[in-house]
């Protein structure tokens, strides 16, 4: 599902509000050690199987986790809300398939166990979105 990750990343980078909130950039998998907050980390999770038989229709369910890190809880909350709004209202367009539904699996706000170098609290916002993707049989 590389196409989906690419499309999601592109949509995040193309969104002015997200770019303003995550000035430290968008990273996949894990942020580099040099990343400056606030930033967003995008990763794919092992997904739940769809509750219905879908293989005839080439439908897959992919869950992606969006983790935002910031010194300000408000930034983290705003970014989490923005991610939800961004992907639940406008579904990403893919080269090799079609997103046919996006749902929220969970979200949350956590305090990181380690403060930053100056001793400030670091917040982590999490939102897991599940994308239902129908692959293009001709792709």
């Amino acid at each position: 599902m590389i196409a989906l990750i690419k499309a999601v990343r592109q949509d995040l980078m193309g969104d002015g509000v997200m770019a303003g909130l995550c000035t430290g950039g968008f990273h996949t998998g894990r942020a580099p050690d040099t990343a400056t907050m606030p930033y967003l980390v995008l990763s794919r999770l092992n997904g739940f199987r769809p509750e219905y038989y879908t293989s005839d229709h080439q439908v897959e369910q992919v869950t992606m986790r969006f983790q935002t890190w910031s010194l300000a809880a408000e930034t983290v909350l705003s970014a989490t809300e923005r991610v939800e709004k961004l992907f639940r209202t406008t579904w990403p367009s893919l080269d090799d398939g079609t997103v046919i539904y996006v749902s929220k699996e969970s979200d949350g706000l956590e305090l990181d166990p380690d403060p930053d170098d100056s001793g400030n609290d670091v917040w982590q916002g999490i939102i897991d979105l599940t994308f239902l993707v129908q692959r293009d049989p001709t792709a």
């Binding site: 894990r30 050690d33 739940f48 509750e51 166990p113 670091v122 982590q124």
Partner: protein, 140 residues
């Protein structure tokens, strides 16, 4: 023939059955989660008071469920069932259980904890069994 509406009794019976199955599913998930964090590893014990400080010598790799060091996480995994809203929750009250599940921030020079999820894989890997506990004839 007179007919009598027994809606509330029916709802009560259905809720009782759903509750029973939900509770059973919660117990099942709790037990599988405990299993997942039970992989052993050699442990070195530090300090004068034996058992006070332990270090795992063969820790899990990032992305894998954590291996056991003290057994505290395993012991802390609990199931809570709320009959009034028909909800079952499985988890831990230990903060590091959450850090292992979600990972923590990169802090340079290899600091920070890479995630070692144990709760979500329990759900993902046991979907069929969990659903079976809800289905017709599900084993409670």
């Amino acid at each position: 023939m007179a007919m009598k509406w027994r809606g509330p009794e029916a709802v009560k019976l259905i809720n009782m059955e759903v509750g029973k199955r939900l509770d059973a599913a919660g117990r099942f998930v709790r037990d599988r989660a405990k299993e997942l964090v039970s992989r052993a590893q050699p442990v070195r014990i530090y300090g004068k008071k034996a058992g006070r400080s332990r270090k795992g010598l063969d820790p899990s790799r990032p992305g894998e469920p954590p291996k056991k060091v003290t057994g505290m996480l395993r012991m802390s995994i609990k199931k809570e069932f709320d009959r009034s809203i028909l909800t079952v929750r499985v988890g831990t009250n230990l903060a590091y259980g959450r850090y292992l599940e979600l990972g923590t921030r990169s802090r340079g020079k290899g600091k920070g904890l890479l995630k070692r999820p144990w709760l979500r894989p329990t759900l993902v890997n046991n979907q069929a069994e969990i659903r079976a506990r809800f289905g017709v004839g599900g084993k409670v």
